[in-house]
């Protein structure tokens, strides 16, 4: 199985887990990662710079029409939905909020599932709303691999629990084990 992209949805408690993920992945981690973190509409991109300084990979805000490439961790800009086109480029929209959120995890996940089908890994992490549950189901239905953060280990258990109530995930793991698993899956690619 060759995975071509990882999508991650995270809400409250996300800053900490994103810091851990971006600083733990090794230099030659190949699979591009695309993240929706719920943020206020007016937040700036300073925190992305901080993540980037501590990461072996290139952490950057996803840009409109940008081609998705390996070695990058892309983060959805505040106040826009982030979608993935079938030619593996990004689209941004200002459509109405979904699950009270813009960017919405469901919007990213559903478009990613269509673009990558069974070559996609979908991950739901800590958060206190149900965004991501519909999207993770679409990823599963399209044959992708689904990983949920063990709610007992999540700072906010609601979002992982909501995802688990929607589908049977392939893995339910604490954060450290998720990172370990991603590194293994990435190495199998070569």
């Amino acid at each position: 199985m060759q995975y071509e992209a990882i999508v991650i949805g995270v809400s409250s408690g996300g800053m900490n887990v994103l810091k851990i993920i971006s600083s733990s992945l090794p230099l030659h981690f190949n699979i591009p990662i695309i993240i929706v973190q719920h943020l206020s509409a007016h937040s700036d991109s300073h925190w992305i710079k901080l993540l980037n300084e501590k990461s072996h990979l290139n952490v950057t805000e996803a840009d409109e029409k940008e081609k998705i490439k390996k070695g990058n961790i892309y983060i959805a800009p505040p106040n826009y939905h982030l979608l993935i086109e079938k030619d593996k480029t990004f689209s941004l929209t200002i459509d109405e909020r979904v699950n009270f959120a813009r960017p919405s995890i469901d919007v990213l996940f559903e478009s990613a599932a269509e673009a990558y089908t069974n070559k996609l890994i979908g991950i739901v992490l800590t958060g206190s709303n149900s965004d991501g549950s519909k999207g993770i189901k679409r990823i599963k239905d399209c044959g992708g691999l689904v990983i949920i953060q063990d709610p007992e280990t999540a700072e906010s258990e609601y979002m992982p629990k909501s995802a688990i109530a929607t589908i049977v995930p392939d893995y339910i793991l604490p954060l450290e084990d998720i990172i370990e698993l991603l590194i293994q899956l990435d190495q199998q690619e070569r």
Binding site: E64, K65, L83, E85, S91, D95, S111, C142
Partner: protein, 274 residues
């Protein structure tokens, strides 16, 4: 549910049908967005596939107009991105002050919030009386609402905060009157706004203007269509005229990038070279 493998083809045929029957052209829009809107409408209306829905679109004008509303995004705010309006005040107003008459084009104005924001800004800068604002959209329903200038009370708190962050000089409440759940924008703001139906994809240049604002419209278009619309803007601007795009929209990939200088790179404000 996983969509059928033929759904891309069916969507493309539906867009062709909409264009040929109704004249609205979505064929060069970003596909992931169009797919999302169409699939949502299909699910809500209980169709099994896009082809089934296409027959309804072709034969039922009411349904077709609902779908057109789905495909036309009217999400907007007063003083959306306040820092942009601040920059407009600081960097563009001084340029406008040098002209005896000013023409401004809000392309894709939706329900008009940004056109009213502009009218407020110009009034505060003493320029409104010599300005005409052309506010255009292809969505007639949205234009009608813009013309009415009636907005929900619920948004006023956010708009007031946007207005203040944008460097507003008065009390925001002096620009509207409250009426039950709504506010009505002052008549004095409306007097120099011309609301007009114009489709960026299929219509052409209609005026020579000093300033064009087209924010968060081009993100919905593919690269080819973006370039076409950029050419339309270029041909509508006077030399030295100013073009404002959305905070995530760039001229960098456009063929016309070299023809502009950057007034504010971060707020995406560009000046057409002489």
């Amino acid at each position: 549910m996983r969509y059928k493998d033929t759904s891309d083809l069916e969507i493309s045929l539906l867009l062709e049908a909409i264009f040929r029957k109704y004249g609205y052209d979505f064929r060069e829009y970003s596909q992931a967005h169009i797919r999302r809107r169409i699939m949502n409408r299909m699910a809500v209306s209980g169709f099994e596939d896009v082809s089934q829905m296409q027959s309804k679109v072709l034969n039922d004008e009411t349904f077709a107009s609902e779908l057109l509303q789905d495909l036309s995004i009217t999400v907007t705010e007063m003083f959306r991105d306040p820092i942009f309006y601040k920059s407009l005040r600081e960097n563009v107003i001084p340029i406008l002050k040098t002209y005896p008459f000013i023409k401004i084009w809000h392309a894709g104005c939706a329900t008009g919030e940004e056109a009213y924001s502009m009218a407020i800004l110009l009034q505060e800068e003493g320029l409104y009386d010599r300005t005409t604002i052309y506010a255009t959209d292809f969505n007639q329903m949205a234009l009608n609402r813009a013309k009415d200038g009636i907005f929900s009370n619920k948004m006023i708190k956010e708009y007031t905060s946007n207005y203040q962050m944008a460097g507003g000089k008065e009390s925001f409440s002096s620009y509207y009157t409250s009426n039950y759940d709504n506010v009505i924008m002052n008549q004095s703001l409306k007097k120099n706004i011309v609301w007009a139906n114009h489709n960026l994809v299929t219509d052409s240049v209609f005026a020579e203007v000093n300033l064009i604002l087209c924010r968060n419209v081009l993100i919905y278009f593919d690269k080819n269509l973006q370039n076409k619309v950029q050419t339309l803007f270029y041909n509508s601007l006077i030399n030295g005229g100013v073009l404002c795009l959305g905070s995530k929209e760039s001229l960098r990939f456009s063929d016309l990038y070299e023809q502009y200088s950057e007034l504010d790179t971060k707020q995406r404000i560009f000046k057409k070279k002489y």
